[in-house]
Point group: D2
Chain length 142, copies 4
């Protein structure tokens, strides 16, 4: 995992929280990079993540993008805060197929009560990365 501009304690808080997300674990998702205001996740594309056409289910694309955005927000929240999604919107750009799903979340605007966040999700097939979804939404510290 790459860590840029973020101290060890804060990075540990993010990974500990992520490790307790049973659903993310069930999909084999991992944090691959953390920086101040940005988190990258990846997950293998497995049979149990597909929909009826053999593409990744929009639910997993959403879950990975939403988690990346949420943890990006958590990097900038007070030490004792946890993060919850208030609302999130996804636009799907292309069917997701291949070996790996990658989500890059970032903070657009931090705040005391609301964090506006965004995420991009990509599908990796061989050497080709396809942009499959964009997400925009609001995270709240709890």
């Amino acid at each position: 995992m790459s860590k840029i501009n973020i101290d060890e304690i804060r990075a540990r808080k993010i990974t500990d929280s992520f490790d307790r997300q049973a659903m993310m674990q069930g999909f084999g998702a991992k944090i691959t990079a953390i920086s101040e205001g940005g988190v990258t996740l990846s997950a293998p594309i497995q049979p149990h993540a597909l929909q009826q056409h053999g593409f990744v289910h929009a639910g997993l694309t959403f879950a990975l993008g939403d988690s990346a955005a949420g943890y990006a927000a958590l990097t900038m929240m007070p030490d004792d805060a946890e993060v919850m999604t208030a609302e999130m919107k996804i636009n799907l750009l292309a069917p997701a197929t291949g070996e790996q799903l990658i989500a890059r979340g970032r903070v657009i605007k931090p705040g005391r009560r609301l964090f506006v966040t965004a995420a991009d999700v990509y599908a990796l097939k061989g050497e080709t990365e396809t942009h499959v979804a964009i997400l925009q939404g609001t995270m709240v510290p709890v």
Copy 2:
């Protein structure tokens, strides 16, 4: 499963498509009602569907609501069409906890190229049904 105002062949098309959604199967989701323009899904709340606070992961709440909305649209699409989500937005109303998650999808406006849809998601804990999310989005026939 309750079927209202929908013929047997159309209902079969919906259930066959749903049965091929590996991710929905993995979460134990079932269709519980189909009508013209409306589909209800339910899924047990299981350990592998949770996030770090022990509530249902927003990804599953989204996936169930999105699927209910998509299949609601499919009830009104041409026989040879399948359905894909173009975009979807979710507002989370309350943490989801209990035994069962229920999603009721409906068509707001059918169209030749775009279907505007909505869904409500509820968590059932004992006798109490809590409204946990609303979704609004666009489905396309493919």
Copy 3:
């Protein structure tokens, strides 16, 4: 204006706030009904509210729906609070044309920090009311 289940002071607060919205005034918008958790607005469809095809500009449809949702939230906020939109999503259902635009806003879920709201917008042409847009979004007390 119809007032249902709402006291005079609260209704006055809403109308006073609305009267200070220069943009709403510029479009001739009026409050036509207030209840606890619901506000209806209407505006004449005038030449300066149109886009390039002669239909109502999505900006006005949005503005009216957003205002109806915001004031619906304000009916349930503390006396000294004002309301601001945190985020809002609109799906357009049909081109808006006719004499009058009507927006019905409602609170889906009140909260201390966030109010989830929705609105429906209709265009009135003669006796025919066409459903032209649905909105879903978040209001915050300030």
Copy 4:
């Protein structure tokens, strides 16, 4: 107006369409830049564009961002196509105040039936540009 990577005829189509948007004209909005897949608009912040707190009404922020995104899509659509908004979501980042509102729209993903677009809106006060809103939505050729 700056024109980059776009031929004269296409640029003329965009400006002609924009000039027929009565609502944009009423707010004094202008196209300030056009490129393949990108359009920038600006509008003076005038008294009739305000809401009850003296900030720019979310309706105008939305209208300007939505128009910038729509015209960005139109730069990549067939010659005989016009553009309509199917759906759009806005997250407001900060109150908009100052002399000028600027919206930069761009195409995220062009398509035959759907264009996924985004826009950023800024308020210019003296030398300071404040990021006031982000938009994400779908445009359709008609």
